[in-house]
Structures are given as structure tokens and as C-alpha cells.
Amino acid sequence: MAIELEFERPIVELRKKIMELKEFTQNADVDLSSEIKKLEIRLEKLEKEIYENIKPWDRVQIARHPMRPTTLDYISNLFDDFFECHGDRTFADDEAIVGGIAKFKGLPVTVIGHQRGKDTKENIRRNFGMPHPEGYRKALRLMKQADKFNRPIICFIDTKGAYPGKAAEERGQSEAIARNLFEMAGLKVPIICIVIGEGGSGGALALGVGNRIYMLENSTYSVISPEGAAAILWKDASKAKNAAETMRITAPDLKELGVIDDIIPEIKGGAHKDVKQQSKEIEAILTNSLKELLSLSEEQLITDRYNRFRTIGEYGFIQEFIGV
């Protein structure tokens, strides 16, 4: 199933035209190959132009693409012997988060990630990838297990946010998120986080306190959705496009702000065009990152993570402002 995004339309149309011409030359007796060649060159240029100048709002669309690969897609492409573990041992199994043990190129690891569905039925089952407290508590349980058995932890981040519901509040959504931030800080194993789709606020961050944080090129990470920001700022959710730009939520923006360590390049048009190829890109960076982190001692890992977050933020002192 191919779902074209608005900004890609010129490419899709041109490609269609070339196909039509090709078909036409096959059936008719005219030779249009030089025209076709010209159009193909134009297509290449157009593709380059469009995909190299993707606007923030277009990235939001790619990040939300219904066919965008999910945590489980990457797990099956990147890891062997994945064994899924369910439940928080207290209340329920929240299917908006999946997690378990696996091997990465032979190395035992724990993998955890937000999981949304690709169709309505699966989305209902997975609550659109929006976890309840028990989801975060399951994640923490698995992280502590990884800590005990000295396995690196790999987190995939892909959620619109923690679920805003009555039951979620009753069971302590705030506490569950806060607890994860707090406990992740103290784990003695490498933690690598990769934002693969939408990184929505605290619900994303609750799996995000890692030694290294990467983002796929077209994913987003933000304190509030562009729609939410637009509604608050301009009392108009339809200005989401502007908000997407103002809020600086794309991978290049966040790299510049020092929030993430690196950008994982996406294949032309977005990860959904070829999961296998995209997985290879992730595999490369994951391998390097693991190699680097595995050489650190337990204490170094904790200090490294502390410094990672301790330094984020921009501030000044009054003297600078009045020019003393």
C-alpha cells in the first residue's frame, strides 16, 4: 500500500508520466526515448530537490505515516531470538509498549519500545501506541532485569504521548513516567535510545534517558504536538504547520540544540519505503554505539548519562542582559 504525502506529489506525478510514455513507446511506433531520458533526469533533480529540502511539517507527515516501520518491524529486522516479555507484575500488560530479550549480532540485549498499530484493529489493541502507567512499569521492570543480567538496553521511541485518560491518572501516570526517568539514571548498563517516529513529550522521554539518543532523519521529538502548540499559542489547531517550524521538533533542529547525539539517515522518501534498508542504517550506528559504550565501566556509564542530560539547557545571568 502506497500512501503518497502531499509534498511528494510532484515526484509521483512525474514518475507516472514517464511510465505512461514508456508504455506508449512500446505500443506505438514512435521513438520517445530521448524525451523519456530528459524526463528521467528531471525526475532525479526533482527528487533531490524535494527530499533534500523536506520542511518540518512534511517530516511530521512522514513520522506519522501509517506504514512507517514500528518497533516490532525493527526488532524483527535487527535482532535474533527475540523473546517478548509481558506485564508489569502489578496490574496489566500494556500492549502500547513491547519489550523483551534478544540478540544483536550475537550480543544479548534487552529491547523495549512503544508500539502502535498499522491498522485500526491493531491500533485499538495497542491504544495507538499511547501507554498507560503499567506500560512504563513493564518497561522499567525489564530494564531492571537487564541491569541485573548486565545486558545493554535498546529503546525505540514512537508515541504521540502517554495516554491522557482517567484510569491512567488514577494509576499514577505522572509517577510512572517520573520513576522511569529517575531509575534509568542509575542503571549500570549501556542504554541507547532511538526515536523512530513521533517522540511525544513525557510519554516518549520515559524511555529516553539513555547514554546515546539518536533520531531517524524524519522523526520528531517535542514537548507538545504541533497541533497542541498551535491551539495554545494561536488558539487555532490548524496552524500546526507553523508550530512545527517554530517548535523546532525535527532531528536536525534537536541535534543543533544538543538534545540528541546524532541523526540516522533515512532512505529517500522515508523509512516506510524500505524497512530492510532502513534497518541496515540503524544497525550500523547501533553497532558503533554499543562498541563504544561497552568499553565503559558501570560507574562511567552512569556518569556519562548524568553528563548527557546535566548539560542540556540554555540560560544566562542578569548582568549579561543589562550589559554590565
Binding site: A162, L205, I224, I249, G316
Partner: protein, 293 residues
């Protein structure tokens, strides 16, 4: 009469004969001698209210307190020494109108940012305290709030004294985007380190404590306490009502609701707060070998 006067724009304003006061106006007794309680609607002398730590004399409603008032009512007299008071926000995203809004709130609240941090004593016990003030940008957390709180935690660690935080915040500050979000992580990793060194953390949630603040340090106390009636929660009420399509109970996300659902150690009236905190601090004093006989 000139022709242009026929147009309504140029006609003298019509006299209004009746005005119906809005709900807000009914509750709004002009500041001054008397204050009206929004809960029981009774009127009392402002002076008496302030003397009573801004707790309603009739029904116990807790009025919002500024950081300054909090320092005066909670800490031992004259014990407070502020730290990092000159830290101010920049505009990392070049967000439109952000600096102007900060300046406006600076003038209005006479604060440099939404949190005041420092060292003081309660019942004679030395502590580091961070007090959020919702009159500055709704108490929202940006880089400066995160940094000041983190430095306060580190100060408590350095001095080996308890860390007490009064939260009052609408959540992360939108105008600093993901940098605000990351302050949740920054403060939490600092608390973890402090906690690992045996530090005592007491969180006192006051009205309102929501969003990113409730989902980080506010919930990470060894003791999580709250003032009566305080609004505490992760998601906003309206957002939840929209997502579950039902009306929420009246007491939803109040301190009392949280206590009922096991999220708080206790709700403590402001009038007894210093006394109860002193009790907790006393129990946590290192006593050495002569501790118990």
C-alpha cells in the same frame, strides 16, 4: 448632522443600562481590605487571611502563595539565603514574543524566574529548598527552572542536607521546546544521584502541579505530600474528557483524589506544614551509635 455621522462608527456610544456580572467578576472582590473565598464565598479581612497563611478562616481553602510568602511562612525567620537568583531565561528557539512575555512577568511577579532556590532552616534543621511560583509564566519549567532546581539538588548533596521542593507549575514551558522537556530528565538524574548518596527528598505539591513537573521531580520525593485541594495530574482535564468522552468526577486530580488512589503519603494543611516537616526531618537526622538506648 453631517452625512458621515449616519454611520454607526461615528455615533456616540450608547449608554448601557444593565450589566450582568460574569461568574469571574462575582468572585473577584477588589484587592484590598476584604477577600472573598472562592470555595465558601465568605468574605474576610485580607489582613487576617494573610496572618492565617492565606488559608480561609471559614473553610480552610488554600489560596495560592508566592514564593516569597512561602519562604516567610515555612522557613525559620531570617534563615533563608537565596542562591542563583540572577539566572534568567534566554530564547533558544527564537520563539516569537517570548522575551517580552518574560520581561512582563518579571515586572509583575518581581521574580527572575518561576522558581526561587536557597538554603534555610526549618525547626532548626538545615535544608536546601526550591519553591516554584505560579505567578511567573504559570510556574512552567524551561531551562532556567530546570537548571536552578538541579543546582539546588547538587547544593543539598554537597552540604549533605535534605532537599525540599514546593511545586506549582503548569508543566514544561512550550517556548523552549524540547529543551524544556529535557529538564524533566535533568532534574530526575540529579535526584537519582542525590538519592544514591542517601539524600532525603521531600516534595510538597501545591496548586497546580501538572504535566512535566508532576511527571518528574514532584513525584520523586521519598515523601510526596500535598496541600489540601491542590490540582495535581499529568494530563489536563479537558484533554482527558475529550479522549474518554465522559464527564470526570468533581474531585478528579485533586490532592484528595490522589491520596485515595495511593499516589501521596499525606495531605498536610499549610498551618501545620512546618511542624510536620520538622518531625520528618528530625526522624531523618543521623544519630550515630548513641542513637537508641
Amino acid at each position: 448632522m453631517a452625512l458621515k455621522d449616519l454611520f454607526t462608527k461615528n455615533q456616540p456610544k450608547k449608554k448601557k443600562y444593565a450589566t450582568i456580572p460574569t461568574e469571574a467578576a462575582k468572585n473577584d472582590v477588589p484587592e484590598g481590605i476584604m477577600t472573598k473565598c472562592p470555595t465558601c464565598k465568605k468574605i474576610m479581612y485580607t489582613k487576617e487571611l494573610i496572618k492565617n497563611m492565606k488559608v480561609c478562616l471559614h473553610c480552610g481553602h488554600h489560596f495560592p502563595m508566592t514564593a516569597k510568602e512561602r519562604i516567610e511562612s515555612f522557613l525559620d525567620e531570617g534563615s533563608f539565603q537565596e542562591i542563583n537568583e540572577n539566572m534568567v531565561s534566554k530564547n533558544p528557539l527564537n520563539f516569537p514574543d517570548y522575551l517580552e512575555k518574560l520581561e512582563k512577568d518579571r515586572l509583575k511577579s518581581k521574580l527572575n524566574e518561576a522558581v526561587v532556590t536557597g538554603i534555610g532552616t526549618v525547626g532548626g534543621f538545615k535544608i536546601v529548598v526550591a519553591i516554584m511560583d505560579s505567578s511567573f509564566r504559570m510556574g512552567s519549567m524551561g531551562s532556567v527552572v530546570g537548571e536552578k532546581i538541579t543546582r539546588a539538588i547538587e547544593k543539598a548533596d554537597e552540604l549533605s542536607v535534605p532537599f525540599i521542593i514546593f511545586t506549582a507549575s503548569g508543566g514544561a514551558r512550550m517556548q523552549e521546546g524540547a529543551l524544556s522537556l529535557m529538564q524533566m530528565a535533568k532534574t530526575s538524574v540529579a535526584l537519582k544521584k542525590f538519592s544514591g548518596n542517601g539524600g532525603l527528598i521531600i516534595s510538597i505539591m501545591t496548586h497546580p502541579t501538572t504535566g512535566g513537573v508532576s511527571a518528574s521531580f514532584a513525584s520523586l520525593g521519598d515523601y510526596n505530600l500535598a496541600e489540601p485541594g491542590a490540582l495535581i495530574g499529568f494530563a489536563g482535564r479537558r484533554v482527558i474528557e475529550q479522549s474518554i468522552r465522559e464527564k470526570l468526577p468533581e474531585d478528579f486530580q485533586t490532592a484528595e483524589f490522589l491520596l485515595k488512589h495511593g499516589q501521596l503519603d499525606a495531605i498536610i494543611s499549610r498551618l501545620e506544614l512546618a511542624e510536620k516537616i520538622t518531625l520528618i526531618l528530625d526522624i531523618h537526622q543521623p544519630r550515630g551509635e548513641l542513637a537508641w538506648q
